[in-house]
Symmetry: none
Subunit: 258 residues, 2 copies
DNA sequence: TCTCTCACTTGTCTTATACTTGTATCAGAT
DNA sequence: ATCTGATACAAGTATAAGACAAGTGAGAGA
């Protein structure tokens, strides 16, 4: 069988895209450039690109150019997805088991974040393909929590359930040792390392609407952060030193000072 | 591969703002001045500035000018100062102590990443105010490593030393238990949780130039990621939750399936 | 002290150019 | 019949260059 020109070009482009030769925020060479580079006509190059578009690897905008679809142009670098949506995307059968559902007096941290005295606390175990992979606790302001039922929470994510438009979120990632309760739930040894993520989600007006804590077993999970442009330093970006005695309080103080 | 002019200008401005070249509250150079400085039109400079405004880094008032928006918490933490610049800002004295410096046969992982048989391995202990806060190991391709001296490495960061333009980086964040060696260096208990970051840094051409591992004591450090727009309907971009047993391979497989 | 003026700033338009993709046509090769 | 090459044109984008309105601030002049 004679091999088609545009197929071999598509294969080569796929290889280059998957090897990350074309970074996020930038376009592929233009059709004309590719046409010259491969010594093929623009028709053929287009056919190759459209083949790759059908695969979902690339996309284009008229007048702008072609770009790798995996890393959308729009990302201002921080536009990162949430853990939940990633899992949903990755095709595993996600399952939620509600361990605890009820209104409580807000613990100090939740009260500070949400600004409510009474909150709905939901503790869930998240499973992927039947295996536990995360223990999540979510605190919701009383007013918003009243709209939610235990069954809904087991079925859907909070983002889908809450009647607010979600704005930004700040997520802290740290490490900790598994408590006995978490160890049992996650089927790991007590004291073994876990990733602990704390997330504050705000609505579009900047009001905190969700406060959540996620515990992941370290052996089974890790975060991968893509940094399109690296700052000139060796230390991983985004890391912040937390001094128990002053760290967070200091951050708040600085905020007020201005 | 083309890149957008206003994006590169925005990147440079962001760097200058975050390095506190423009004090909070004080104004930036005027659009005309920036336009002349970057040899770009005012339209382009404005686009860059408005991009940064969307990130919350700067703001403007008609007739007055552009100024750095002071609140550090609203800054995109993905780009926010590195841990060392934060340390310097808070008045802490950062110090590096080289533990080990020498050329070795590349371990399997480093070889796979860097594609070299022989590499320069530098192990360092980073201290803040005399207190150890990170144990860092860096592997550099032999060719690049030959230019470096032990004294240089103790004094400066690799980004300052290496004669390459740094492009993107991929960083994995995981949790682990402190080994006895790390525990001693970091002055923590053996087996206590640590954050482990593995970073692959590439130059602008996409060639891996640095492979590094960072170990942070969990009690003293945490990662903060700002997610400016949490849109569940949007495809996740930067952060991926990786399952060791299947994650990366599956990710690639899934991509092809589309 | 008050007011006016003037230089400078951002905000918002135009117009022009070079470059991009989107689409169509026609001709030749296999 | 299909793939490929060559070409032309429409439509969209990024950037440049400039004009003008409106807001700001400082200094001149009363």
């Amino acid at each position: 069988m004679r091999e088609l020109r545009y197929r071999t070009i598509a294969d080569d482009l796929r290889r280059r895209i998957e090897s990350r030769e074309f970074a996020a925020g930038r376009t592929l060479p233009s059709e004309s450039e590719l046409s010259a580079a491969y010594d093929a006509s623009r028709v053929t190059v287009r056919k190759a690109l459209e083949w790759l578009r059908a695969e979902g690897l690339v996309d284009s905008r008229q007048g702008f150019g072609w770009f790798a679809a995996g890393d959308p142009l729009r990302q201002s670098l921080g536009r990162l997805g949430t853990i939940e949506s990633q899992l949903a995307e990755s095709g595993v059968v996600a399952e939620r088991r509600v361990l605890d559902f009820g209104f409580i007096r807000a613990p100090a941290r939740a009260k500070a974040v949400l600004g409510c005295d009474t909150v709905l606390r939901v503790r869930r175990l998240n499973l992927a393909d039947g295996e536990p992979f995360a223990r999540v606790t979510v605190w919701v302001p009383e007013q918003l929590g009243e709209e939610l039922s235990r069954a809904e929470v087991e079925r859907s994510s909070f983002y889908e359930l809450l009647p607010v438009r979600v704005g930004r979120a700040v997520q802290s990632i740290g490490a900790a040792a598994a408590s006995s309760a978490d160890a049992e739930l996650l089927e790991i040894a007590v004291g073994s390392p876990v990733l602990r993520c704390e997330r504050i989600t705000e609505d579009v007006d900047g009001k905190a609407v969700l406060f959540s804590e996620h515990i992941f077993p370290a052996l089974r999970t890790e975060f991968v952060v893509d940094l399109p442009n690296v700052d000139p330093s060796m230390a991983p970006t985004g890391v912040r030193l937390v001094d128990e005695t002053q760290g967070k309080a200091q951050g708040r103080r600085r905020k007020r000072a201005q």
